[in-house]
């Protein structure tokens, strides 16, 4: 049994059931209906599921992840000590733009494991950078006045022990 997914551009992707199962939205669409209506709506090949917010390039990237995890359980709950498998880290990479696309799509498609991996990817990119560095990297404009910065320094008085250890 397979399902057709249609990207934003209209490209069609034929995926098998275990792969599609990883995508929450598709699972709900295809099989959830079974529960409510008594018959499955989208199990028929001819009908596709349109994913209007996901471009073809990102969808194909996400399907790589789904393909990899079709038989395994991905991590869905992480703490700072948890190590992702090497494959995951290589998959997510260090390209911030790419990670953000994956993150957005994973959120839209309800893929908790991939969402967590994307967060880990972002955390790794941000790790050890100072605010100005992050702004440059992400193209964000700092909108604090000098006054506000001084206030924040005061407000976080305690945290100076963490930020600037003696």
């Amino acid at each position: 049994m397979s399902i057709t997914l249609i990207s934003k551009e209209g490209a069609q992707f034929l995926v098998s059931k275990p792969v599609a199962d990883r995508i929450g939205v598709v699972r709900d669409c295809a099989y959830g209906a079974d529960f409510w209506l008594g018959y499955a709506v989208a199990t028929d090949d001819s009908m596709g599921i349109t994913l209007a917010n996901v471009t073809s390039s990102i969808l194909s990237k996400i399907l790589v992840w789904c393909e990899h995890y079709k038989d395994m359980e991905p991590l869905v709950d992480g703490d700072s000590n948890m190590e992702f498998p090497e494959w995951d880290m290589a998959y997510i990479g260090h390209d911030m733009n790419q990670i953000l696309f994956v993150l957005e799509a994973a959120d839209y498609l309800h893929i908790p494991g991939l969402l967590l991996l994307a967060c880990k990817g972002i955390a790794d990119v941000l790790d050890g950078r100072n605010p100005r560095g992050i702004c440059d990297l992400l193209g964000i404009v700092m909108d604090f006045s000098h006054r506000q910065e001084v206030d924040m320094d005061k407000e976080n008085g305690y945290w100076r022990w963490f930020l600037h250890p003696t």
Binding site: K120, C135, F144, Y158
Partner: protein, 567 residues
Amino acid sequence: MTRVTIENLPNELLVHILGTDFLNVRDILRCSRINSRFHSIVSSTVEIQYRLLLLQSTLVNNDAISSELLPLSQRFKMLRAHRAAIDRLDPTRCLQIPVGIPVGYVPGPTYELVDGIYARGIHNWYDSFFTRAITFVILPSVVLNIEEAEGWTVDLGMTIHDFAIEPLMDLLVVVEALPQHLPAPPVFPIHFMTMREGRPHPDARLESVEFTVPGTAHMVEHGEYLFIINVCGDLVGVLFRPRVLGIAHHLAIWNWRTGQHIWTYNAPPPMCIDSFAFLDIRHILLAASHEPLSEFTFDVVRIDEEPFVEFCFHPPELSMGLNIPTPILRSSPCRVPPTGRLIAKPVLPPPPFYSDPAPECRIFSLSLLFEYGQWLQMRAFRVQGRRRYTLFAPASLFLNPAPGLIPSTVSATHIPWSWWAPRTRWLECSTDPTNTHVCYTFGTRHVRWAAPTRGAEAQSSPFGPSPTPSLPPSRCVQLLTFPPPSLPVPPSEYVALAPPITSFQPMPVFAEQVDSELPYTVQTAGDIEVGLEECEGLCVDGFERIIGLEARDEGDEEALTLTVCVF
């Protein structure tokens, strides 16, 4: 492909990114400085704020309670109220709790206070001074939602010297007082029981283990030994410390669950072991003196398969006219969960958050007494003045004093005073009342009685002139908070020891200091105001309570009440 920036993302996704555990606190704080949107997200997200506040309080969230049962927002509210109360030393409740002692019994000299459970050894009024039963009181708690104190008494069915409790494992360790039959050496059976019923502990394979004092054939008097019992996970350590000179000190460690004897350290006179504490499940810290007599060291002993001294922390090199008796060692207890499952249930319900057990967050206090005077004919020392300092150091300093330094397995690595003293915090405690049984330090907080200090306190070194005896000033409760655990030492500092210091200038450096001049007073049933300042001892327990011990009601000598301030 169009470019997404992080700014286009909806707030929920940003919260998700910032709220995962992958970003450490420093990165979260940095992100909050990016722009006002990130700042408002960080400061208005309960999960993130809860994490920051936990870290600031050196607490950890109890993941064993699911967030459906107790949402993080509720925990955050609870923690914030608790912090606000303790930071201003403004208790939520102050109350007097009578310790319910059964008729015919009187309180004895032994007591324990762990996790808000007060245990008092009691004995028959007509009987000897040996403890026969123990009365327990669970003190009220805001965090655990315990409104009323609850008490019970356990009859041990034997006489004991001393006991220790560990509510996490419902464990009561007692040292039995057996009559000695000469010429046999004295034997001390150590029993592992439950706190609730006083029965043999279901998780201990052996009901009791025995310690036979080696090489002693004399009659051991009552009170000849002082017992220090510490529990850490599966390990129980008992220090047999004689009160008189010329008798050997013994420290014995067992695994209470298997009954396996792990280590015994005998210190024949003139050596002595003053106290010991568990640093973690593999290391203990000993305050022991060696030859020559005046020289003591703090020894870190590894008690794995083949116990050996890993590090020796040396005292300052003494100048003429200065003497340091063996110091007193107090520790925030090393509380680790037992390995594997227990049949016994914890005595208290699980807290929503608890003190961080990381070695950086467990502060040990070492009480050093500097005596200065004159050496008479190179032997006797005539004391002219004394000054007491309390030195605070996290367990991590003893476990890993110089990062990158690999401890030798054949001989102890010696750590000179000039290296480790500057890495500790100091407090002058010459005027503090010394109650050797009470631990004032818990986690990274230290509570003490003190004279109210306004502005800088004049500091003088112990090498200076002797202090003029002053009248005891009106006392206040002082709460000192240590700076958060420092970050890993950069590699440039590895092994390269700090330059030796020639003069010792104690510099107390604390992140926060709160004085509370309010003596907390409570109305008793007879409309008498009882204040903390009337109590004999002061105790900080868990992170929640300050307890005044043994405030006795006038007229009733036998009654025992605790003055408890819950935060």
